[in-house]
């Protein structure tokens, strides 16, 4: 399938932003981590999106406290996801596909829950 219709939307463009002051601070810390620390200390997140992008997305969408809990939950389920998750090809090689929606949809849309 070829065609320029696969355009991703950045999380910051999301209409339901609920970050607040604490969320903004957390996002700046995550920016610092992903641009300065991550290239030095990390060997690369096995999941897509990476944990810092996931945390940023969660904080922007749900606010500081729920977003932080979701980010911690991501760290917790990462080992299991490597075992059970779906592998996709990304710009940075093969990664486990684990978007925020895969872990929160059942909260808002019961039809996605079996």
């Amino acid at each position: 399938m070829r065609g320029p219709w696969h355009i991703s939307t950045p999380a910051s463009d999301s209409p339901d932003q609920a970050a607040g002051y604490l969320g903004d601070t957390a996002n700046r810390m995550l920016d610092f981590y992903s641009t300065v620390l991550n290239p030095v200390i990390s060997t690369g997140c096995p999941c897509f999106p990476s944990c810092s992008d996931y945390a940023r997305d969660a904080i922007i969408r749900f606010g500081f406290i729920p977003g932080t809990i979701l980010a911690l939950e991501r760290l917790m389920h990462e080992p299991g996801e490597i075992e059970h998750g779906r592998v996709i090809r990304t710009d940075r090689g093969l990664r486990i596909h684990d978007p925020l929606s895969a872990n929160t949809d059942w909260l808002f849309d019961p039809s996605t829950s079996r």
């Binding site: 809990i69 299991g80 079996r114």
Partner: protein, 293 residues
């Protein structure tokens, strides 16, 4: 693929030439592109055809093909928009090929994840006067869409009410058993997993079948709780408060993780069973031959 596209291309050229005025080159080129799976570029050419052609039927065919190209390219919302607008009006194409547009619209709804709506539309097709070549695919699609929307009883009723629609009685029985199995798979209870993890961090994840998640949760929570106990024992109250703050996050995440794992396990079991059915019986909306429109 190339051979198929040339056969389609030639057959359309012959059929349209026989019916009167020759089709515009944009239509023929669009058909060729569609045969090459170049859906995005084909859509542009179909739009050119709509713009150029004076024949209302050909314009409807081009609009229909645009919808199909969107479907093939997994642009489900665009497919719904264009096919819904086509289905809502009285058209020559609907008279010529009854049910085809609505079948594709049901497929677009399914593609978009609106399984209930797709099932209703496909079921409506089975009841209405349509060609026999569409009836069997519509029936099968109704069953799969009803299953996807979680309405297993209705899906089973649909199989029972149309015993002649399947290849043979034993095939129908196998299909029925496979659909009925959805009632018994993926029934881990998220609430129970949450309670288990609230009592012993990690146990809910083990109940959900994710041992690694359980171990991670147990170790993280264990370290923080041990740190808090140790800090209290050595009279470092501030350290205990800081560790407690972090532990609250880990503990909440642990409960959420157990529930999330349950949903994921159930979902995976469901998807896996559905994929088995699709591998055995074909895609949810079987392809229909619309090359001779």
């Amino acid at each position: 693929m190339k051979r198929f596209s040339w056969i389609t291309f030639t057959s359309i050229l012959v059929s349209l030439s026989a019916s009167g005025s020759p089709p515009p080159s944009s239509y023929l080129f669009a058909e060729y592109l569609r045969g090459q799976a170049e859906y995005y570029r084909a859509i542009t050419e179909y739009h050119r055809c709509v713009f150029e052609s004076d024949d209302p039927l050909l314009r409807e065919i081009c609009l229909y093909r645009i919808g199909v190209c969107y479907l093939e390219g997994k642009q489900c919302s665009d497919a719904v928009t264009i096919l819904a607008s086509l289905a809502s009006r009285q058209s020559n194409l609907q008279e010529r090929y009854p049910g085809l547009i609505r079948y594709r619209l049901a497929e677009a709804y399914y593609c978009e994840g609106q399984y209930g709506r797709a099932a209703e539309m496909a079921a409506g097709l089975v009841e209405s006067p349509i060609q026999d070549t569409l009836r069997k695919p519509a029936l099968y699609s109704t069953v799969i869409a009803r299953t996807q929307s979680g309405d297993i009883a209705e899906a089973l009723a649909c199989i029972d009410q149309n015993p002649d629609a399947w290849e043979n009685p034993s095939g129908a029985q196998v299909f029925r058993r496979q659909i009925a199995a959805f009632n018994t798979i993926g029934h881990k209870k998220p609430g129970l997993a949450g309670i288990l993890s609230a009592i012993v961090p990690g146990s809910g994840q083990v109940y959900a079948g994710r041992l690694r998640d359980g171990l991670t949760s147990f170790v993280f929570n264990g370290i923080f709780i041990a740190g808090i106990v140790s800090a209290i024992d050595s009279d470092h109250t501030e350290t205990a408060w800081i560790l407690g703050f972090f532990e609250l996050g880990w503990y909440s995440a642990n409960i959420y993780n157990a529930m999330n794992d349950c949903h994921k396990t159930n979902h995976l079991a469901w998807e896996s069973h559905l994929n088995t059915i699709i591998l055995m019986h074909g895609r949810p909306f079987p392809s229909v031959d619309d090359s001779d429109l």
